[in-house]
């Protein structure tokens, strides 16, 4: 009886130690592995956006992106400020996840097709971009009759 109890206790100790070892090992290894997986890339993307909805000074657009973040794109722009446009653009790359950047743009020319440029910063992401950080710049054109937008973005992204 006593022998059986000792045998059980010994197994219990082995299981606990093993569990602790695995647990500790996993805890240490996980961030290290995650850090090792993080990479920094130069992103070059061209997006073509078409107007979905315009309410007052808010434009909602949708389109496609080519380049590093090739996939679909959604955007929302606030053009209530006479000298700068603010907004957010969300990329849904074909490889999965999503990446949302905030943008601030300034006009470079007026006309039916007006040129603009500005800066962007990563705001949030999902999936492989959940911890993404980065910033960059962009240039583009907007047709002020159709609100079709073409934008070329260049940024440095860590995820």
């Amino acid at each position: 009886m006593l022998k059986r109890a000792r045998h059980h206790a010994a197994w219990a100790v082995v299981v606990v130690v093993a569990a602790l070892t695995i647990g500790t090992g996993g805890g240490v290894a996980s961030p290290g592995a995650h850090a090792a997986k993080r990479k920094t890339v130069n992103v070059r993307t061209t997006a073509n956006l078409s107007l979905v909805k315009k309410r007052g000074n808010v434009l909602k657009e949708r389109g496609t992106a080519t380049g590093t973040l090739a996939g679909s794109v959604k955007a929302r722009f606030d053009i209530s400020n006479a000298a700068k446009t603010t907004g957010s653009v969300t990329f849904y790359p074909n490889g999965g996840g999503s990446l949302t950047v905030t943008v601030v743009g300034y006009p470079q020319s007026v006309g039916t097709v007006a040129r603009f440029s500005g800066s962007l910063a990563v705001r949030k992401g999902t999936g492989r971009f959940s911890d993404a950080t980065g910033s960059g710049t962009f240039t583009g054109t907007v047709n002020r009759r159709t609100w079709h937008i073409t934008v070329n973005a260049s940024s440095r992204l860590t995820y």
Partner: protein
């Protein structure tokens, strides 16, 4: 008439008299409004009127006008300013254009953003003050440092038929203001020894229905009226707030505010 009715009438008369006298004593007055048929969420011309009390500002002409408009107004999202009017820097420096060119002086009609009128006191060095009336054409200018430029043609009507050119810009919004229409009114160098020109009344109609754009401006084919200023979908109960900041030649400044009555909702 009952006592209560007499009291109400007296109160109304009193209020009217008070507001009238208050307006009369203000050195700068501003009013702003939209087309009579304007609807929230639609497009309209923006009408701004400015009055500077010449008696109180006699010694110092206005040198800069900055009209702040509320954040909800879509000046950028309007169909205005589809072309750029470029004038040489020398014209802005001279202000008074030689040869009295007429019309848009070679600029595209698709650059016109609004029209207006003005009255200015021409003060001769001998003390004589001659009021001059003029018409204004406001055009989109080139973008400089991320700001959309403006070109203001002033065509004197009577008694001096002179053309003046002023430079302006659309300023970035701040606070509750979505931006500002700003332009400088410098002294005219070529007549500095003879007279000064002091603005007393200004009326601007941005996005006027009188504006005519062309699908092909060079050949004047496909005329159409561009959409005016986009109005916000909703409006604060106290109206849409405007403000004007004026700078004077003697270094002083003045400001005045106005609330444009809310246009009716589209749903009504």
């Amino acid at each position: 008439m009952s006592r209560s009715r007499v009291a109400v009438v007296a109160l109304i008369v009193g209020l009217l008299l008070t507001s009238g006298s208050a307006n009369a004593t203000r050195p700068v007055r501003l009013t702003a409004g939209f087309d009579p048929g304007a609807r929230l969420g639609g497009a309209s011309a923006l009408n701004v009127e400015l009055h500077v009390d010449a008696r109180r500002r006699l010694s110092s002409p206005v040198t800069q006008v900055v009209v702040w408009f509320p954040r909800g107004l879509g000046l950028v999202s309007s169909g205005l300013g589809l072309a750029t009017c470029r004038r040489p820097a020398s014209e802005f420096a001279a202000v008074l254009v030689d040869g009295n060119p007429a019309g848009l002086a070679g600029c595209s009609p698709n650059a016109v953003m609004g029209y207006g009128s003005a009255i200015a006191d021409v003060r001769l060095t001998d003390g004589q003050v001659i009021p001059e009336t003029a018409t204004l054409t406001i055009l989109a200018g080139p973008v400089v440092d991320g700001r959309i430029g403006l070109v203001v043609f002033v065509d004197g009507q009577h008694p001096f038929a002179a053309r003046l050119v002023y430079a302006g810009e659309l300023r970035a919004g701040r606070g509750r203001f979505g931006g500002a229409i700003a332009f400088d009114v410098p002294a005219i160098p070529s007549i500095a020894d003879l007279a000064t020109v002091a603005l007393t009344d200004l009326r601007l109609e941005i996005g006027s229905r009188k504006i005519r754009y062309y699908a092909h401006p060079a050949s004047r084919i496909g005329p159409y009226h561009p959409d005016g200023i986009e109005l916000p979908p909703s409006c604060p109960s106290r109206g849409l707030r405007f403000r004007v900041n004026l700078a004077f030649q003697n270094g002083t400044r003045a400001t005045a505010g106005a609330a444009a009555r809310c246009p009716r909702s589209r749903r009504r």
